[in-house]
Structures are given as C-alpha cells and as structure tokens.
C-alpha cells in the first residue's frame, strides 16, 4: 500500500513542480529525438518515472496516481501503433516497416520515413511507459487490487 509516506512540505512542493517538468521534458525528448539525444524509449521511461514519483510522494488517491492507473488501460496500444505502422507499409506495397512505401499522399520517401520514425517512437514511448508503470503497480501489490478492475 502506497499511502503518501512523506508529509514534508518541501518534498511535496518539489514533487509537484518536478512531475510536470519531467513530463514536459519527456515530450521534448520524444519529439526532438530525431535532432538530439533521446527517443521513444527514454521518453516513455521518463513519463513513467514522473508518474511513479508522483505516486510515491502523493499516495495512491492523488490525481497523479489516478492518471497512472488510467494509463494502464493503454497496455498494448503502443505496440499496436508500432505494428500498425508496419502494416501500413505492407498495404502500400513495401516490406514490413519499410516506411518509404507507406501510402501517405503528398510526401516523398524521406519525409515518409521521417514520419514513420516519429510514429514508431510514439508507439515505443507509450509501450515503455505503460509497462514500467504496470510493473510498479505489480510490485506494490495492494495498490491496484480494487482500482484497475473497476
């Protein structure tokens, strides 16, 4: 049972600032992974880390924890998005995950590959974030007992 073990004002104020800041930075890392270091995996882990941080500091009845619980419903969506992009390339007549064959009108090959990289990165980020949060919920077993099933 995670029940907000930190009563300290300093910890709570710092956490309330950091959680949203880390999420913002995760989005930056996700969408600028093609220009700088980072990418889907790191972004997903950072989103998960910010949610877990909020969960540990504010306890399981806080809005952050409820956001994390809702995130669990998206288990598999990221993987599905990844595979869907691959399937789209198949429909366009190319090999699986050959983005340049994806049937997107108005874009040339490199632009399609750029878009394909972006979409699969979003997929990876979602998948990793959900998996990490779900492992945390599994490890703190009492937390999710009656909540995710509802």
């Amino acid at each position: 049972m995670i029940e907000a073990p930190f009563g300290s004002v300093i910890v709570r104020r710092t956490a309330s600032l950091l959680v949203s800041l880390v999420q913002l930075f995760a989005l930056y890392v996700l969408f600028f992974g093609q220009y700088g270091p980072g990418g889907g995996f790191v972004a997903g882990v950072m989103i998960a880390a910010s949610l877990v941080f909020g969960l540990l500091v504010f306890g399981e009845s806080s809005p952050t924890a409820q956001r994390a619980t809702r995130l669990l419903a998206g288990d598999g969506v990221g993987l599905l998005l990844f595979v869907a992009v691959g399937g789209l390339c198949l429909i366009g007549g190319g090999e699986f995950l050959n983005y340049s064959q994806a049937p997107i009108p108005g874009l040339d090959g490199p632009a399609r590959r750029y878009l394909g990289i972006l979409m699969t990165q979003v997929g990876v980020a979602l998948d990793v974030a959900v998996a990490a949060v779900s492992i945390v919920f599994s490890l703190s077993r009492d937390v999710a007992a009656g909540k995710t099933d509802a």
Binding site: G33, Y35, M46, A49, L97, I117, V128, A131, S138, R141
Partner: protein, 176 residues
C-alpha cells in the same frame, strides 16, 4: 589530460560497485547501486554516447532503484539484512586471474574511435552518410534504431510489453 577526468570516474565506479556488494543492508546496496548507475551515465556521456547515458540515468538510477525499493518494502526487516559467507578460496585465486586474462585480451581490441576498426568499416559509414538524405533525421542513432534496424526495436518493444504483462500475471495472482 584526458586521464584527469577518467581516472577519478573509474575509481568512483569501482568504489560504488564494491560498496554495493559489501554493505550488509540491502536498502543501502540499492541506493549505492543507483549512485553507480549515475557514474556509469557520466562515463557514457564522456564517451559521447548521449543516448545511452540518458537511458542509464533514467532507468538504472531512477526506475530500477524504485523497483528494488518497492520490492524491499514488501519484505520483512530481517530479510533485508544479509549475512555474507567468506568466498571460497578457489574463487579468490581464479577470479583475479580471469581479470588479468581479460585485461590481456583487451590489448587486442581496436583503439577507441579508431576509424579502421571492423565495427566502423562495415555498415556504419553507410548509415552516417545517408541518414540525413534517406530519412531527414540528423541524429544517426535514432535513424538506425527506428528505421534501418527497426525490426530489432520492434522485438525489444515486444520484450518490454511482455515483461510488463508477465510481472502483472505473476505478482497479481498472489494478491487476489
């Protein structure tokens, strides 16, 4: 010189790694392991592998520590203290010899950043030269991971997904 930064970092790495193994309290070991991950992230950053440094800092020092702490919080206090029996004499003799053997073998590795090393002449030049024109992605690491070698990444994503599901199935069964 280059060594002014590397040697203290290496010393800290060895110190934290040894500390994590020596301390008796598992909670202390977990926290020292987190510090070890941070130093390792600094090493990656120093070697120019910013992406790997990122992952090491977030996963190794952040999430893995939380996983360990959550697991420890489910155990009773006497489980988190460990008695370490002295190592067998054969290990004390054999493991340093193995280390020496590895150091000897490391002499044959190509120098760091050597452009003529096998890893640098096979497919890497093609990726580095064509990434921008092929995929409009300046970050070659991203274009290799998500385009040229995307099947690898897909399978890794499947592994992450499976690990989440497996943890849920194994650990939640007890709770219900």
């Amino acid at each position: 010189m280059t060594y002014s930064f590397e040697l203290p970092l290496l010393a800290l790495l060895i110190l934290t790694a040894a500390g994590a193994m020596i301390v008796k309290e598992l909670i202390s070991a977990v926290l020292i392991l987190g510090a070890y991950s941070f130093f390792l992230a600094l090493v990656w950053a120093w070697l120019g592998a910013a992406d790997v440094a990122f992952v090491e800092a977030v996963v190794g020092a952040g999430l893995a520590t939380v996983f360990f702490l959550l697991t420890l919080s489910q155990t009773s206090p006497e489980d988190t203290r460990i008695r370490r029996p002295p190592p067998p004499i054969i290990a004390v003799i054999a493991l340093p010899l193995l280390g020496l053997l590895l150091l000897y073998a490391a002499n044959d590795l190509p120098a760091f950043g050597d452009p003529g090393s096998p890893a640098s002449v096979h497919v890497s030049p093609h990726y580095i030269e064509n990434s921008l024109a092929d995929t409009r992605t300046p970050n070659v690491v991203t274009s290799v991971l998500m385009d040229y070698r995307v099947l690898d990444t897909l399978i890794e994503t499947v592994v992450v997904f499976t690990s989440g599901i497996a943890c849920w199935l194994l650990l939640r069964r007890d709770a219900e």
